[in-house]
Symmetry: C2
Subunit: 648 residues, 2 copies
């Protein structure tokens, strides 16, 4: 029996699985499970807004004292240089309270990350203060008029050589900074993204440190902050608005890692291409997207843990034969509702661990491949989409699966629902991010053909089209077609092979990608680029989604490979099958329309989901325990007072 | 030009459409638009719980003074005998505030409905008082341990002939009444559903009037009420719990329309079959389900009106050719996200009007067909599912489509989201209700064969199987298959024909129904009835859903037939096409797997959705205006202060 680190005695299957899902920063997760289970970190939905905000700030001071944030900073900046540990440790706050997680993320991740990664030696002094919360900051990127389109932000930072200052200004109503966590109340300084102008020339978006408030919390001259007020959730986060009326800041407040302005106004940058400079700047902030995805998944795990445990206690309707009331989780519809979401939670946990490992390797300098950063950004965007979408769906299903009890705040799920709702929006709208992923893989595809002339394109299109045809008329498809026409027994076992499953996921991605590329190409000759793109937008988004699904499956498969315990591994394999079958089922019309699955095999997929949820039903509690949310952190009243919904 | 009632001048296309969607109680809707637009009825999310509850109660007094509730009661009971007008008028409150709508529904619909429909002459005195709010009541059906399974409620009402009283008691923790609107604070009396026991015999669930509080609001002896506290929404509704400790009430407090207990304890009922008695009792309460569906759809219309209007003002990302930023609604993905939901809102509005007409005909005695009541209950259950599911989805999409702005309470959508979240649960969990619909149509199907012996079943199965095969191998299918194999041009126009569309919806329902019946039959011989049912549960639920989709489409088609204005009618036809195509698209894998659509036609469906959203794009504002939520009732700050998200 393989020993699971840090466990006393012989580990259970659930513990083996939990160890696998915990990933490389398992020790930090275990520490956090102990520390954050303390009641002081639990959300209190009965507080009013000012109380909720004050409480979160107090909680953050304790988090700082426990040493969580300093992992996120380099040793020379007063940290311990463990970015993976920082993201993982703070993610565990999501089990306690998402307001606390968001506000911590704003202070140490976004604001701290901007100062550390976009600043230089001269800004180092801020870091120690922001780690220990002597300096509270905010991350003022989004404006009321521009969120996803960061390059077109309207706030200006105009250099005045006479005084060696930048003048920060809000030129229009839509240039107002908005939804900024910390801006309503606590932040003393903001990392402001603004269009840099010097010597009459626009140089694009750069980041500046702008003091907002004095020690008493009053707006400084030229600064007007206001409060976004109540939101759909996250009451402990003081989101607000900022406008700047010709606010002067020293030249040195430009975070000048990638570009600088000399005292005389001369602009310089080691990155000549402005677009590359912009994307390099944003790329250093990838940790935010990595973190949001992780916290969304953590929230989903809490909700699913509550709903599955409830379904293992609550009974409804007596079996006419036995007279015994049936447990909710013994209904097929309930199994189908919850267990595929548990399976997806497993898949995403492995995918998130893999993502954090990649991020950590790059940010600690162990990974030096120049393509790795761009690949990380694509993957972080894709997993942010997958995980936040999953969280919205899983938490909504969990709420409904718990009926009226699920609607009471004392049972926690509605708070998770409200808090995570905006995760599909922040750190990038999910549609825009899916498009970003798709564009990235499309441009990879186009690179093969970048320099082709018109004739080359024609030849290329012909070849690729043939390639596509090959897929549809290849040997496998032929067998398939033959089978469909006759009454031969279909070999359903085939679909159970991991290699076939991976191929099916890859086929969908490849086919969507190639056909999207061709569609764009074909349209581009008749219409404007925007119209060509817009006409194919649903196709392009589908390609992005297919890419994400494949990455997640690959991570799941890799994750299983690391499980040594045979029982745990076998269970994980079944969970992986359920992830595969339910993902295939969600995309069944596509597979049928493009003849990657025959009708008989499609029916086998649907049947397979039923069989797999039935097979996993006895292990439901094991799976919940493996997801790793300690029972003491669920904080759902109905789980502690089970007699009220269990018949005596 | 056909004149639209009550409109000055020549009506616009939007006004014609609105008149059609308003339906038979248009005058009441118009009156409500004027009256409820008053700021006093708007929700105020900044109130704390006690304030929110007190405010709703005050608002209800004004609603009562305006005469809305009395429409719901018969003339002899002090009402005006207009049940359709009552449901429609109160539904309009959903545009103002859903807490107000729910609490009004509890008082006048559930509590008032129980007294009027389950009580007799001797209870008439309560009605006048509850209409004018001198008597505040609640509807104490659900218990912590039993919600969907009303027949197994645990609260007891034991008759004591010695004192001619019933003794109401809560025998177990799970028998606690829970989630009861009004129980936490305002209700003075409860309509309590409990197991009637007399002379040592259980007679099933009956309804009793039980006083809860004295005039100072203190619990009466034996009564313990408590507060459910915060919920995912509906802050103005004081949901709570009630336990009864041997509470004695007079014999006359039994609502005795369908059954009575004589002073000596003798039980009598005009309905001998206890199960039929129970379902008759519940059937009289159908108005609750009718109302919830309507209010859910109203909430969806508000959210979609806000999101579409925002998408017609907010721009993001410049078109590289023109430099102009693109309106959100000009993106294909945004059109695809919002416009099919608008189309579904149209469909459901027509279906709801049709449902209310049927309810009104029965409840005013104009409809006397004995099957009509049962058919109404099935339809009400189905449309409750369809509309509450639609609301959850539409409001979630609307939130996401408005990005960060959508998350601010000042823009209303998150409040709608939280308030409607529980609509999928109350008045019957959606899974349970879908099952009820499916069982009802299954039993209709089984009636044809109810008395068959074993041989008869075999013969029946053989015939029906042949029938199913006919569908798959019929002429149309044959042509289809031929087309698929060759390169002939597929006649896509076919799918645009309403008759073909209706047939496709009906085919899906028929096929799912027949195959579910056969599956149940086949399984029943190998296993227990519960297992047979449970194994086919996903299949049965799919049959229920298909039935609902067909009803909705038929109502849409009938609704269009009443539009005289040619432009309005043409636009409605296109909206109906979008409803059809997007519903087909959602069920595409089913149509493909069961060969009702060929691959080529399936692709035409997908393409069709794209073409239809593009065609409807220029009419987006017209469609929103037609949905009939007055601009003054949207109350989204971002729509009144557009400069902050529109580039100057």
């Amino acid at each position: 029996m393989v020993k699971v680190d840090g466990m006393a005695g012989t580990p259970t299957t659930a513990e083996h699985l939990r160890a696998a899902l915990d990933g490389p920063w398992r020790a930090i997760r275990e520490q956090a499970r102990t520390e954050f289970a303390d009641k002081q970190f639990a959300g209190d939905p009965n507080l009013d807004l000012p109380e909720a905000r004050a409480r979160v700030l107090e909680q953050m001071r304790t988090i700082a004292a426990l040493g969580y944030p300093e992992r996120g900073f380099r040793v020379e900046n007063g940290g311990t240089g463990d970015p993976g540990g920082a993201v993982t440790g703070l993610e565990m706050l999501a089990y306690a309270d998402l307001s606390l997680w968001v506000k911590s993320g704003v202070q140490w991740g976004l604001f701290g990350g901007a100062v550390e990664n976009l600043g230089t030696e001269r800004h180092r002094g801020y870091l120690k203060e922001l780690i220990n919360l002597d300096l509270l900051g905010c991350f003022a990127m989004t404006e009321s008029g521009h969120g996803s389109d960061v390059a077109d932000l309207e706030t200006t930072a105009t250099y005045d050589p006479a005084t060696e200052e930048f003048v920060i200004n809000t030129p229009t109503p839509s240039a107002r900074k908005d939804y900024i966590g910390g801006a309503a109340e606590h932040a003393r300084v903001a990392a402001v993204f603004a269009q840099l102008n010097t010597l009459g020339e626009g140089k694009g978006v750069h980041c500046f440190l702008v003091p907002l408030r004095d020690d008493e919390g009053n707006d400084l001259p030229g600064i007007t902050t206001s409060d976004d007020g109540r939101k759909g959730g996250l009451p402990g986060v003081d989101n607000g608005r900022i406008t700047f009326d010709q606010v002067r800041i020293p030249r040195e407040n430009l975070l000048n890692r990638y570009a600088d302005v000399a005292p005389d106004g001369t602009y310089s940058s080691e990155i000549e291409n402005p677009s590359r400079r912009f994307f390099t700047t944003l790329g250093t902030l990838v940790r935010g997207r990595v973190s949001v995805g992780g916290a969304a998944s953590a929230g989903a795990r809490v909700a699913l843990s509550i709903a599955v445990r409830y379904a293992l206690a609550r009974r409804q309707f007596a079996d006419p034969d036995t007279g015994t009331e049936t447990l909710l989780l013994d209904y097929r519809s309930h199994q189908r509702r919850l267990l595929p979401l548990v399976a997806k939670s497993f898949a995403l946990a492995f995918a998130q661990n893999d993502l954090v490992v990649r991020m950590d390797a790059i940010q600690t300098g162990r990974e030096t491949d120049p393509h790795a950063q761009r690949s990380l950004e694509k993957r972080a965007a894709g997993l942010k989409v997958a995980q936040t979408r999953h969280a919205s769906r899983a938490i909504a299903e969990a709420r409904e699966a718990c009926g009226g009890a699920g609607y009471l705040t004392e049972n926690r799920i509605v708070t998770l629902k409200g808090d995570t709702d905006v995760f599909t929006t922040f750190e990038g709208d999910n549609v825009v991010l899916t498009q970003l992923v798709a564009k990235e893989i499309l441009s990879g595809y186009a690179e093969e053909v970048r320099d082709l002339d018109a004739l080359g394109w024609v030849r290329f299109a012909a070849t690729s089209a043939a390639d596509v045809v090959r897929k549809r008329s290849g040997v496998r498809q032929l067998i398939q077609t033959l089978r469909d026409r006759g009454d031969e027994t279909v070999d359903e076992a085939d679909l159970g092979k991991r290699s076939v499953q991976l191929q099916l996921f890859a086929d969908r991605e490849d086919y969507l990608l190639r056909t999207a590329a061709h569609r764009l190409r074909a349209r581009a000759e008749e219409t404007t680029p925007f119209e060509a793109f817009n006409n194919a937008q649903d196709h392009i988004l589908a390609a992005g989604a297919a890419h994400i699904d494949r990455l997640v499956l690959e991570a799941f498969v890799d994750g299983i490979a690391d499980i040594d315990d045979p029982d745990a591994r076998e269970l994980a394999e079944t969970v992986c099958d359920l992830y595969v079958y339910s993902t295939l089922e969600e995309n069944l019309s596509w597979y049928l329309m493009h003849k990657f699955l025959s009708v008989e095999r499609a029916k086998a997929v649907r049947r397979g989901v039923n069989e797999l949820v039935e097979r996993l039903r006895p292990d439901a509690l094991t799976l919940v325990e493996a997801m790793g949310v300690p029972e003491s952190m669920l904080r759902a009243e109905m789980l502690t007072d089970a007699s009220v919904y269990k018949r005596a």
